[in-house]
Amino acid sequence: MNVKIAGVFLASFILLSGALQAQTKKQAMRQSTVATSVARGKVVYINVCLPCHMADGGGVQNMNPPLVNTTYVFGDKAALIKIVLHGFNEDVEINGKTYSNTMSAHDDLSDRQIADVLTYIRRSFGNKANAVKATEVTKVRAMSKK
Protein backbone atom coordinates (compact mmCIF):
# COMPACT_ATOMS: atom_id res chain seq x y z
CA MET A 1 0.00 0.00 0.00
CA ASN A 2 1.53 3.29 -1.03
CA VAL A 3 1.28 6.38 1.09
CA LYS A 4 -1.16 8.10 -1.26
CA ILE A 5 -3.74 5.38 -1.15
CA ALA A 6 -3.28 5.02 2.57
CA GLY A 7 -3.89 8.77 2.89
CA VAL A 8 -7.13 8.66 0.92
CA PHE A 9 -8.27 5.68 2.92
CA LEU A 10 -7.47 7.38 6.17
CA ALA A 11 -9.14 10.61 5.08
CA SER A 12 -12.33 8.88 4.02
CA PHE A 13 -12.31 6.92 7.25
CA ILE A 14 -12.05 10.11 9.26
CA LEU A 15 -14.80 11.76 7.20
CA LEU A 16 -17.07 8.75 7.51
CA SER A 17 -16.62 8.32 11.22
CA GLY A 18 -17.10 12.04 11.69
CA ALA A 19 -20.42 11.89 9.84
CA LEU A 20 -21.46 8.84 11.83
CA GLN A 21 -20.53 10.54 15.03
CA ALA A 22 -22.51 13.63 14.07
CA GLN A 23 -25.52 11.51 13.28
CA THR A 24 -25.36 9.64 16.60
CA LYS A 25 -24.96 12.93 18.37
CA LYS A 26 -28.00 14.34 16.56
CA GLN A 27 -30.02 11.27 17.51
CA ALA A 28 -28.90 11.51 21.09
CA MET A 29 -29.80 15.17 21.11
CA ARG A 30 -33.23 14.47 19.69
CA GLN A 31 -33.78 11.78 22.30
CA SER A 32 -32.75 14.07 25.09
CA THR A 33 -35.01 16.81 23.69
CA VAL A 34 -37.92 14.36 23.74
CA ALA A 35 -37.00 13.27 27.25
CA THR A 36 -36.96 16.90 28.39
CA SER A 37 -40.28 17.52 26.69
CA VAL A 38 -41.77 14.44 28.39
CA ALA A 39 -40.48 15.65 31.76
CA ARG A 40 -41.95 19.12 31.25
CA GLY A 41 -45.14 17.60 29.89
CA LYS A 42 -45.57 15.49 32.99
CA VAL A 43 -45.72 18.66 35.10
CA VAL A 44 -48.41 20.12 32.81
CA TYR A 45 -50.28 16.81 32.95
CA ILE A 46 -50.29 16.70 36.75
CA ASN A 47 -51.57 20.26 37.01
CA VAL A 48 -54.10 20.30 34.19
CA CYS A 49 -55.10 16.82 33.04
CA LEU A 50 -54.69 14.43 35.97
CA PRO A 51 -57.81 15.46 37.94
CA CYS A 52 -59.97 14.02 35.13
CA HIS A 53 -57.77 11.57 33.20
CA MET A 54 -56.11 10.14 36.34
CA ALA A 55 -52.44 9.53 37.13
CA ASP A 56 -52.35 6.36 35.03
CA GLY A 57 -54.23 7.88 32.08
CA GLY A 58 -57.04 5.41 32.73
CA GLY A 59 -59.82 8.00 32.81
CA VAL A 60 -63.12 7.52 34.65
CA GLN A 61 -65.96 5.13 33.82
CA ASN A 62 -68.71 6.77 31.72
CA MET A 63 -67.22 10.22 32.21
CA ASN A 64 -63.61 10.96 31.32
CA PRO A 65 -62.04 8.98 28.46
CA PRO A 66 -58.85 6.98 28.96
CA LEU A 67 -55.66 8.10 27.19
CA VAL A 68 -54.49 4.51 26.85
CA ASN A 69 -54.69 2.44 23.70
CA THR A 70 -56.74 4.90 21.67
CA THR A 71 -56.19 6.46 18.25
CA TYR A 72 -57.34 9.78 19.74
CA VAL A 73 -53.95 9.86 21.46
CA PHE A 74 -51.54 8.05 19.12
CA GLY A 75 -53.31 8.94 15.87
CA ASP A 76 -53.48 12.25 13.96
CA LYS A 77 -51.53 14.90 15.85
CA ALA A 78 -53.50 17.87 14.50
CA ALA A 79 -56.77 16.36 15.74
CA LEU A 80 -55.24 15.77 19.16
CA ILE A 81 -53.88 19.33 19.34
CA LYS A 82 -57.33 20.66 18.44
CA ILE A 83 -58.92 18.78 21.36
CA VAL A 84 -56.57 20.48 23.79
CA LEU A 85 -57.01 23.91 22.19
CA HIS A 86 -60.80 23.83 21.82
CA GLY A 87 -61.98 21.27 24.36
CA PHE A 88 -64.31 18.41 23.59
CA ASN A 89 -68.08 18.45 23.93
CA GLU A 90 -69.56 15.27 22.55
CA ASP A 91 -69.96 11.65 23.53
CA VAL A 92 -66.90 9.66 22.60
CA GLU A 93 -66.71 5.88 22.22
CA ILE A 94 -63.43 4.21 23.02
CA ASN A 95 -63.04 0.43 22.92
CA GLY A 96 -66.78 -0.09 23.20
CA LYS A 97 -67.36 2.28 26.12
CA THR A 98 -68.89 5.73 26.01
CA TYR A 99 -67.55 8.78 27.84
CA SER A 100 -69.59 11.94 28.09
CA ASN A 101 -67.98 14.60 30.28
CA THR A 102 -67.30 17.96 28.69
CA MET A 103 -63.62 18.88 28.43
CA SER A 104 -62.94 22.60 28.63
CA ALA A 105 -60.65 24.40 26.15
CA HIS A 106 -57.02 24.78 27.18
CA ASP A 107 -55.95 27.47 24.73
CA ASP A 108 -54.43 29.35 27.67
CA LEU A 109 -51.55 26.87 27.60
CA SER A 110 -48.55 27.87 25.47
CA ASP A 111 -47.62 26.01 22.29
CA ARG A 112 -44.63 24.60 24.13
CA GLN A 113 -46.77 23.39 27.05
CA ILE A 114 -49.28 21.73 24.72
CA ALA A 115 -46.48 20.07 22.74
CA ASP A 116 -44.89 18.86 25.97
CA VAL A 117 -48.06 17.47 27.50
CA LEU A 118 -49.06 15.72 24.28
CA THR A 119 -45.58 14.29 23.91
CA TYR A 120 -45.90 13.08 27.49
CA ILE A 121 -49.23 11.31 26.93
CA ARG A 122 -48.11 9.88 23.57
CA ARG A 123 -45.10 8.29 25.30
CA SER A 124 -46.68 7.26 28.61
CA PHE A 125 -49.28 4.77 29.86
CA GLY A 126 -47.92 2.21 27.37
CA ASN A 127 -48.27 4.60 24.40
CA LYS A 128 -45.27 4.73 22.02
CA ALA A 129 -46.11 7.46 19.50
CA ASN A 130 -43.69 10.13 18.34
CA ALA A 131 -43.29 13.56 19.87
CA VAL A 132 -45.38 16.65 19.18
CA LYS A 133 -43.38 19.77 18.38
CA ALA A 134 -44.29 23.26 19.49
CA THR A 135 -44.23 24.38 15.85
CA GLU A 136 -46.94 21.84 15.07
CA VAL A 137 -49.12 23.36 17.79
CA THR A 138 -48.39 26.87 16.47
CA LYS A 139 -49.54 25.77 13.02
CA VAL A 140 -52.80 24.20 14.24
CA ARG A 141 -53.53 27.18 16.50
CA ALA A 142 -52.98 29.61 13.59
CA MET A 143 -55.13 27.55 11.25
CA SER A 144 -58.02 27.30 13.68
CA LYS A 145 -57.97 31.07 14.24
CA LYS A 146 -58.78 31.77 10.60
Binding site: M54, V60, N101, S104
Partner: protein
Protein backbone atom coordinates in the same frame (compact mmCIF):
# COMPACT_ATOMS: atom_id res chain seq x y z
CA UNK B 1 -78.66 17.91 64.05
CA UNK B 2 -75.36 16.30 64.76
CA UNK B 3 -73.01 14.58 62.46
CA UNK B 4 -69.33 14.04 62.88
CA UNK B 5 -67.14 13.08 60.03
CA UNK B 6 -63.90 11.97 61.59
CA UNK B 7 -62.96 9.27 59.16
CA UNK B 8 -61.97 6.62 61.68
CA UNK B 9 -65.44 6.77 63.18
CA UNK B 10 -67.13 5.59 60.07
CA UNK B 11 -65.66 2.25 59.11
CA UNK B 12 -67.70 -0.94 59.38
CA UNK B 13 -68.52 -1.50 63.06
CA UNK B 14 -67.73 -4.31 65.40
CA UNK B 15 -66.77 -7.75 64.24
CA UNK B 16 -66.73 -7.64 60.49
CA UNK B 17 -67.65 -10.47 58.23
CA UNK B 18 -66.51 -10.85 54.66
CA UNK B 19 -69.11 -12.28 52.34
CA UNK B 20 -69.29 -12.30 48.53
CA UNK B 21 -66.33 -9.89 48.56
CA UNK B 22 -68.08 -7.42 50.86
CA UNK B 23 -67.20 -6.39 54.39
CA UNK B 24 -70.30 -6.21 56.58
CA UNK B 25 -71.14 -5.84 60.27
CA UNK B 26 -71.28 -9.05 62.27
CA UNK B 27 -74.30 -11.20 61.56
CA UNK B 28 -74.82 -9.93 58.03
CA UNK B 29 -74.21 -11.95 54.89
CA UNK B 30 -74.04 -11.04 51.24
CA UNK B 31 -74.72 -13.17 48.19
CA UNK B 32 -74.27 -12.40 44.51
CA UNK B 33 -77.65 -13.28 43.03
CA UNK B 34 -76.99 -12.05 39.49
CA UNK B 35 -73.90 -10.95 37.59
CA UNK B 36 -72.67 -9.41 34.35
CA UNK B 37 -76.00 -7.75 33.61
CA UNK B 38 -74.53 -4.62 32.06
CA UNK B 39 -74.85 -1.28 33.77
CA UNK B 40 -77.45 -2.07 36.47
CA UNK B 41 -78.69 1.24 37.87
CA UNK B 42 -81.74 1.50 40.13
CA UNK B 43 -83.99 -1.43 41.01
CA UNK B 44 -87.27 -2.06 42.77
CA UNK B 45 -88.60 -5.13 44.58
CA UNK B 46 -92.17 -6.48 44.70
CA UNK B 47 -93.97 -8.23 47.60
CA UNK B 48 -94.03 -11.38 45.42
CA UNK B 49 -90.23 -11.66 45.49
CA UNK B 50 -89.48 -10.21 42.06
CA UNK B 51 -87.09 -7.41 41.25
CA UNK B 52 -87.12 -5.04 38.28
CA UNK B 53 -83.64 -3.77 37.36
CA UNK B 54 -83.14 -0.75 35.12
CA UNK B 55 -80.03 -0.84 32.90
CA UNK B 56 -78.29 2.37 31.84
CA UNK B 57 -78.27 1.20 28.26
CA UNK B 58 -80.28 -1.56 26.65
CA UNK B 59 -79.00 -5.13 26.50
CA UNK B 60 -80.33 -7.08 23.51
CA UNK B 61 -82.63 -4.13 22.98
CA UNK B 62 -84.17 -4.29 26.48
CA UNK B 63 -83.65 -1.76 29.28
CA UNK B 64 -85.53 -3.44 32.16
CA UNK B 65 -84.87 -6.94 33.48
CA UNK B 66 -87.32 -8.79 35.74
CA UNK B 67 -85.98 -11.51 38.04
CA UNK B 68 -87.60 -13.79 40.54
CA UNK B 69 -85.47 -14.12 43.65
CA UNK B 70 -85.51 -17.38 45.54
CA UNK B 71 -83.01 -17.45 48.40
CA UNK B 72 -79.63 -16.55 46.95
CA UNK B 73 -80.63 -17.13 43.35
CA UNK B 74 -82.24 -14.74 40.89
CA UNK B 75 -83.87 -16.20 37.77
CA UNK B 76 -84.56 -13.99 34.78
CA UNK B 77 -88.31 -13.92 34.12
CA UNK B 78 -88.60 -11.30 31.40
CA UNK B 79 -86.93 -8.31 29.79
CA UNK B 80 -88.67 -5.36 28.20
CA UNK B 81 -88.53 -1.56 27.62
CA UNK B 82 -86.74 -0.29 24.52
CA UNK B 83 -84.95 2.35 26.57
CA UNK B 84 -82.15 2.36 29.13
CA UNK B 85 -82.07 4.70 32.10
CA UNK B 86 -81.71 5.00 35.84
CA UNK B 87 -85.06 5.76 37.52
CA UNK B 88 -87.46 2.95 38.44
CA UNK B 89 -90.22 2.80 41.07
CA UNK B 90 -93.51 1.06 41.86
CA UNK B 91 -96.53 2.97 43.11
CA UNK B 92 -100.27 2.29 43.19
CA UNK B 93 -100.26 -0.56 40.68
CA UNK B 94 -97.80 0.91 38.18
CA UNK B 95 -94.12 0.43 37.42
CA UNK B 96 -92.50 3.79 36.59
CA UNK B 97 -89.22 4.02 34.67
CA UNK B 98 -87.27 6.89 33.15
CA UNK B 99 -84.68 7.54 30.50
CA UNK B 100 -82.77 10.82 30.11
CA UNK B 101 -85.74 12.71 28.63
CA UNK B 102 -88.92 10.88 29.60
CA UNK B 103 -90.79 8.98 32.28
CA UNK B 104 -93.00 6.00 31.36
CA UNK B 105 -95.26 3.76 33.38
CA UNK B 106 -96.46 0.17 32.96
CA UNK B 107 -99.69 -1.11 34.50
CA UNK B 108 -99.15 -4.03 36.90
CA UNK B 109 -101.52 -6.91 37.64
CA UNK B 110 -102.33 -8.10 41.16
CA UNK B 111 -99.06 -10.08 41.23
CA UNK B 112 -97.10 -6.93 40.28
CA UNK B 113 -96.38 -8.30 36.81
CA UNK B 114 -96.29 -5.89 33.89
CA UNK B 115 -99.47 -6.44 31.88
CA UNK B 116 -98.39 -4.98 28.58
CA UNK B 117 -94.61 -4.63 28.35
CA UNK B 118 -94.72 -3.20 24.83
CA UNK B 119 -97.15 -0.38 25.55
CA UNK B 120 -96.13 1.84 28.43
CA UNK B 121 -97.87 5.17 29.02
CA UNK B 122 -95.65 8.19 28.58
CA UNK B 123 -96.09 10.38 31.65
CA UNK B 124 -93.37 13.01 31.12
CA UNK B 125 -91.57 14.01 27.96
CA UNK B 126 -89.20 16.68 26.62
CA UNK B 127 -86.85 16.96 29.60
CA UNK B 128 -83.42 18.38 28.92
CA UNK B 129 -80.67 15.89 28.16
CA UNK B 130 -77.31 17.59 27.70
CA UNK B 131 -75.26 14.52 28.63
CA UNK B 132 -73.78 15.86 31.86
CA UNK B 133 -75.95 14.72 34.82
CA UNK B 134 -78.56 13.48 32.36
CA UNK B 135 -80.12 10.52 34.27
CA UNK B 136 -83.60 11.34 35.56
CA UNK B 137 -83.95 9.60 38.91
CA UNK B 138 -87.52 9.41 40.21
CA UNK B 139 -89.61 9.02 43.38
CA UNK B 140 -93.34 9.12 44.14
CA UNK B 141 -95.30 10.43 47.12
CA UNK B 142 -98.62 9.27 48.57
CA UNK B 143 -100.67 12.01 46.92
CA UNK B 144 -100.34 11.12 43.26
CA UNK B 145 -97.18 13.07 42.51
CA UNK B 146 -94.03 12.07 40.70
CA UNK B 147 -90.68 13.73 41.46
CA UNK B 148 -88.00 13.87 38.79
CA UNK B 149 -84.41 15.02 39.17
CA UNK B 150 -83.22 17.23 36.33
CA UNK B 151 -79.50 17.61 36.92
CA UNK B 152 -77.53 20.73 36.01
CA UNK B 153 -75.68 20.10 32.76
CA UNK B 154 -72.56 21.76 34.11
CA UNK B 155 -70.10 21.43 36.97
CA UNK B 156 -70.69 24.87 38.44
CA UNK B 157 -72.56 26.85 35.75
CA UNK B 158 -69.54 29.11 35.12
CA UNK B 159 -69.74 28.71 31.33
CA UNK B 160 -73.40 29.83 31.38
CA UNK B 161 -72.99 32.66 33.88
CA UNK B 162 -69.77 34.45 32.89
CA UNK B 163 -70.87 37.79 34.37
CA UNK B 164 -72.16 36.26 37.61
CA UNK B 165 -75.62 37.70 37.18
CA UNK B 166 -77.37 34.44 38.07
CA UNK B 167 -77.19 30.92 36.69
CA UNK B 168 -79.65 30.83 33.78
CA UNK B 169 -79.92 27.05 33.51
CA UNK B 170 -81.88 26.78 36.76
CA UNK B 171 -85.13 27.50 34.90
CA UNK B 172 -85.06 24.02 33.41
CA UNK B 173 -82.39 22.06 35.30
CA UNK B 174 -80.56 21.90 38.62
CA UNK B 175 -83.58 20.91 40.66
CA UNK B 176 -86.41 18.50 41.36
CA UNK B 177 -89.57 18.81 39.27
CA UNK B 178 -92.98 17.59 40.38
CA UNK B 179 -95.46 16.07 37.91
CA UNK B 180 -98.77 14.28 38.22
CA UNK B 181 -98.22 10.53 38.45
CA UNK B 182 -101.16 9.70 36.17
CA UNK B 183 -101.29 12.43 33.51
CA UNK B 184 -99.93 11.62 30.07
CA UNK B 185 -97.31 13.53 28.08
CA UNK B 186 -96.55 16.24 30.61
CA UNK B 187 -93.74 18.65 29.78
CA UNK B 188 -92.01 21.40 31.73
CA UNK B 189 -95.08 23.64 31.54
CA UNK B 190 -97.23 20.96 33.23
CA UNK B 191 -94.74 20.41 36.03
CA UNK B 192 -93.70 22.42 39.06
CA UNK B 193 -90.12 23.21 39.95
CA UNK B 194 -90.48 21.67 43.40
CA UNK B 195 -86.98 22.52 44.67
CA UNK B 196 -84.07 24.29 42.99
CA UNK B 197 -80.36 24.82 43.52
CA UNK B 198 -79.57 21.11 43.43
CA UNK B 199 -76.62 20.34 41.20
CA UNK B 200 -77.46 16.71 40.57
CA UNK B 201 -79.48 14.13 42.46
CA UNK B 202 -79.43 10.41 41.70
CA UNK B 203 -80.44 8.93 45.07
CA UNK B 204 -83.82 10.17 46.25
CA UNK B 205 -86.64 8.63 48.26
CA UNK B 206 -89.95 9.50 49.86
CA UNK B 207 -89.74 9.22 53.63
CA UNK B 208 -93.01 7.68 54.84
CA UNK B 209 -92.42 8.63 58.47
CA UNK B 210 -92.55 12.35 57.96
CA UNK B 211 -94.10 12.30 54.48
CA UNK B 212 -91.24 14.20 52.89
CA UNK B 213 -88.86 13.95 49.95
CA UNK B 214 -85.22 13.29 50.78
CA UNK B 215 -82.50 13.72 48.17
CA UNK B 216 -78.76 13.15 47.97
CA UNK B 217 -76.89 15.86 46.08
CA UNK B 218 -73.67 15.28 44.18
CA UNK B 219 -71.53 18.26 45.20
CA UNK B 220 -69.46 20.35 42.83
CA UNK B 221 -66.02 19.42 41.51
CA UNK B 222 -62.71 21.22 41.01
CA UNK B 223 -62.39 23.70 43.88
CA UNK B 224 -58.59 23.49 43.66
CA UNK B 225 -58.36 23.19 39.87
CA UNK B 226 -60.41 26.36 39.41
CA UNK B 227 -59.20 28.25 42.51
CA UNK B 228 -55.71 27.00 43.35
CA UNK B 229 -55.08 30.07 45.51
CA UNK B 230 -58.10 29.42 47.74
CA UNK B 231 -58.18 25.63 48.07
CA UNK B 232 -55.41 23.08 48.48
CA UNK B 233 -55.45 19.77 46.62
CA UNK B 234 -56.45 18.09 49.88
CA UNK B 235 -59.30 20.51 50.60
CA UNK B 236 -60.51 20.01 47.06
CA UNK B 237 -60.59 16.24 47.62
CA UNK B 238 -62.60 16.51 50.86
CA UNK B 239 -64.85 19.43 49.87
CA UNK B 240 -67.59 20.15 49.32
CA UNK B 241 -69.77 17.69 51.22
CA UNK B 242 -72.13 15.30 49.51
CA UNK B 243 -75.39 16.42 51.10
CA UNK B 244 -78.65 14.89 52.22
CA UNK B 245 -81.50 17.39 52.00
CA UNK B 246 -85.04 17.04 53.35
CA UNK B 247 -87.03 19.09 50.83
CA UNK B 248 -90.15 21.16 51.05
CA UNK B 249 -91.82 22.77 48.09
CA UNK B 250 -90.00 25.96 47.11
CA UNK B 251 -86.69 25.11 48.79
CA UNK B 252 -83.46 26.38 47.31
CA UNK B 253 -80.32 24.40 48.14
CA UNK B 254 -78.05 27.06 46.65
CA UNK B 255 -76.28 25.55 43.62
CA UNK B 256 -74.19 27.05 42.04
CA UNK B 257 -73.81 29.91 44.52
CA UNK B 258 -73.26 27.81 47.61
CA UNK B 259 -71.54 24.66 48.76
CA UNK B 260 -71.56 22.87 52.10
CA UNK B 261 -68.32 22.53 54.06
CA UNK B 262 -68.63 19.48 56.33
CA UNK B 263 -65.48 20.36 58.23
CA UNK B 264 -66.75 23.82 59.24
CA UNK B 265 -70.38 22.59 59.33
CA UNK B 266 -71.46 25.55 57.25
CA UNK B 267 -73.01 26.55 53.99
CA UNK B 268 -70.30 28.55 52.22
CA UNK B 269 -70.43 31.18 49.50
CA UNK B 270 -69.00 29.62 46.34
CA UNK B 271 -65.70 31.02 45.01
CA UNK B 272 -67.30 31.83 41.63
CA UNK B 273 -69.59 34.27 43.45
CA UNK B 274 -67.08 35.97 45.73
CA UNK B 275 -66.47 33.24 48.27
CA UNK B 276 -63.01 32.51 49.62
CA UNK B 277 -63.49 29.35 51.62
CA UNK B 278 -64.39 31.39 54.72
CA UNK B 279 -67.37 33.57 53.79
CA UNK B 280 -70.65 31.93 54.74
CA UNK B 281 -73.58 31.66 52.35
CA UNK B 282 -76.81 33.65 52.50
CA UNK B 283 -79.12 32.00 55.03
CA UNK B 284 -81.97 31.85 52.52
CA UNK B 285 -80.42 28.65 51.18
CA UNK B 286 -81.37 25.52 53.06
CA UNK B 287 -78.85 23.51 55.05
CA UNK B 288 -78.41 19.78 54.55
CA UNK B 289 -79.76 17.44 57.24
CA UNK B 290 -76.63 15.30 56.93
CA UNK B 291 -73.33 15.57 55.07
CA UNK B 292 -70.70 13.16 53.81
CA UNK B 293 -67.13 13.50 52.46
CA UNK B 294 -66.54 15.07 49.07
CA UNK B 295 -67.01 13.30 45.76
CA UNK B 296 -68.30 9.99 47.21
CA UNK B 297 -71.16 10.25 44.67
CA UNK B 298 -74.40 9.14 46.35
CA UNK B 299 -76.42 7.26 43.73
CA UNK B 300 -78.96 5.35 45.81
CA UNK B 301 -81.13 6.22 48.83
CA UNK B 302 -83.44 3.83 50.68
CA UNK B 303 -85.34 4.14 53.94
CA UNK B 304 -85.28 0.76 55.62
CA UNK B 305 -88.67 -0.30 56.95
CA UNK B 306 -88.09 -4.06 57.21
CA UNK B 307 -88.01 -6.26 60.29
CA UNK B 308 -85.15 -8.58 59.31
CA UNK B 309 -82.25 -6.27 60.30
CA UNK B 310 -81.58 -5.32 63.94
CA UNK B 311 -83.79 -2.63 65.46
CA UNK B 312 -81.31 0.23 64.97
CA UNK B 313 -81.70 0.02 61.19
CA UNK B 314 -85.47 0.49 61.25
CA UNK B 315 -86.49 3.73 59.51
CA UNK B 316 -82.84 4.66 58.99
CA UNK B 317 -81.35 5.41 55.57
CA UNK B 318 -79.04 3.33 53.42
CA UNK B 319 -77.00 5.31 50.91
CA UNK B 320 -75.19 3.73 47.97
CA UNK B 321 -72.03 5.70 47.23
CA UNK B 322 -70.88 5.11 43.67
CA UNK B 323 -67.32 6.22 44.50
CA UNK B 324 -65.24 9.23 43.60
CA UNK B 325 -63.19 10.40 40.66
CA UNK B 326 -62.53 14.02 41.59
CA UNK B 327 -60.23 13.30 44.54
CA UNK B 328 -57.09 12.70 42.42
CA UNK B 329 -54.18 12.95 43.05
CA UNK B 330 -55.41 11.87 46.51
CA UNK B 331 -56.70 8.29 46.71
CA UNK B 332 -60.25 7.83 45.41
CA UNK B 333 -62.88 6.88 47.96
CA UNK B 334 -66.50 5.91 48.45
CA UNK B 335 -67.60 2.70 46.66
CA UNK B 336 -69.61 1.62 49.69
CA UNK B 337 -73.09 1.45 51.19
CA UNK B 338 -73.47 3.72 54.21
CA UNK B 339 -76.02 3.51 56.99
CA UNK B 340 -77.37 6.77 58.39
CA UNK B 341 -79.33 6.35 61.64
CA UNK B 342 -82.64 8.25 61.81
CA UNK B 343 -84.97 9.21 64.62
CA UNK B 344 -88.45 10.61 64.07
CA UNK B 345 -87.81 11.09 60.38
CA UNK B 346 -84.52 12.99 60.71
CA UNK B 347 -80.86 11.92 60.70
CA UNK B 348 -79.70 11.19 64.22
CA UNK B 349 -76.13 10.27 65.01
CA UNK B 350 -73.05 9.40 63.02
CA UNK B 351 -73.22 7.60 59.73
CA UNK B 352 -71.22 4.40 59.33
CA UNK B 353 -70.05 2.29 56.43
CA UNK B 354 -72.42 -0.68 56.24
CA UNK B 355 -71.07 -2.57 53.23
CA UNK B 356 -67.56 -2.04 51.88
CA UNK B 357 -65.19 -3.75 49.49
CA UNK B 358 -67.12 -3.24 46.23
CA UNK B 359 -64.06 -1.66 44.61
CA UNK B 360 -61.80 -4.68 45.10
CA UNK B 361 -58.26 -4.19 46.41
CA UNK B 362 -57.10 -0.97 48.09
CA UNK B 363 -55.13 -0.22 44.93
CA UNK B 364 -58.16 -0.66 42.69
CA UNK B 365 -60.11 1.63 45.01
CA UNK B 366 -57.40 4.30 45.27
CA UNK B 367 -56.86 4.43 41.51
CA UNK B 368 -60.59 4.73 40.84
CA UNK B 369 -60.61 1.59 38.71
CA UNK B 370 -63.10 -0.13 40.97
CA UNK B 371 -64.46 -3.55 40.03
CA UNK B 372 -67.95 -2.90 41.37
CA UNK B 373 -69.66 0.43 41.99
CA UNK B 374 -72.80 0.57 44.17
CA UNK B 375 -75.72 2.37 42.57
CA UNK B 376 -79.27 1.20 43.35
CA UNK B 377 -80.89 -0.01 46.56
CA UNK B 378 -84.12 -1.90 47.23
CA UNK B 379 -85.73 -3.71 50.13
CA UNK B 380 -87.08 -7.20 49.55
CA UNK B 381 -90.38 -8.39 51.06
CA UNK B 382 -88.47 -10.30 53.76
CA UNK B 383 -86.42 -7.23 54.70
CA UNK B 384 -83.32 -8.21 52.73
CA UNK B 385 -81.35 -5.39 51.12
CA UNK B 386 -80.55 -5.45 47.40
CA UNK B 387 -77.62 -3.48 45.99
CA UNK B 388 -76.87 -3.08 42.29
CA UNK B 389 -73.44 -2.45 40.80
CA UNK B 390 -73.44 -0.54 37.52
CA UNK B 391 -69.90 -1.39 36.50
CA UNK B 392 -70.01 -5.17 36.18
CA UNK B 393 -73.74 -5.53 36.59
CA UNK B 394 -73.71 -7.49 39.82
CA UNK B 395 -76.71 -7.70 42.15
CA UNK B 396 -76.05 -8.35 45.83
CA UNK B 397 -78.54 -9.53 48.38
CA UNK B 398 -77.64 -8.69 51.97
CA UNK B 399 -79.34 -10.59 54.77
CA UNK B 400 -79.10 -10.78 58.54
CA UNK B 401 -79.07 -13.89 60.68
CA UNK B 402 -79.11 -13.63 64.45
Amino acid sequence: MSFKLAKNDNSVRGHKTVSAGLTLPEGFQAAIIADNLGSARHLVATPQGDIYVHLAGTKNGKGILEFHVDGDKATLKSSFANFGGTGIAIKDGYLYASNSREVYRYKLDDKNEVINPDKPERIVTGLLDRRTHAPKAIALDNDGNLYVNIGAYSNICSEYDPNKTGCPILDSAGGIWQFKADKLDQTYSDGVRYATGLRNVVGLAWNQQDNQLFVMQHGRDELHDLFPNLYTVHQSAELPAECMFALKKGDNAGYPYVYYDWIQHKNMLGPEYGGDGKKPADSKYINPVAAYPGHYAPDGLLFYTGNQFPEKYKNGAFIAFHGSWNRAPEPQAGYCVVFQPFKDGKPDGNWEVFADGFAGTEEQKASGHAIHRPCGLAQGPDGSLYVTDDNKGTIYKITYKK
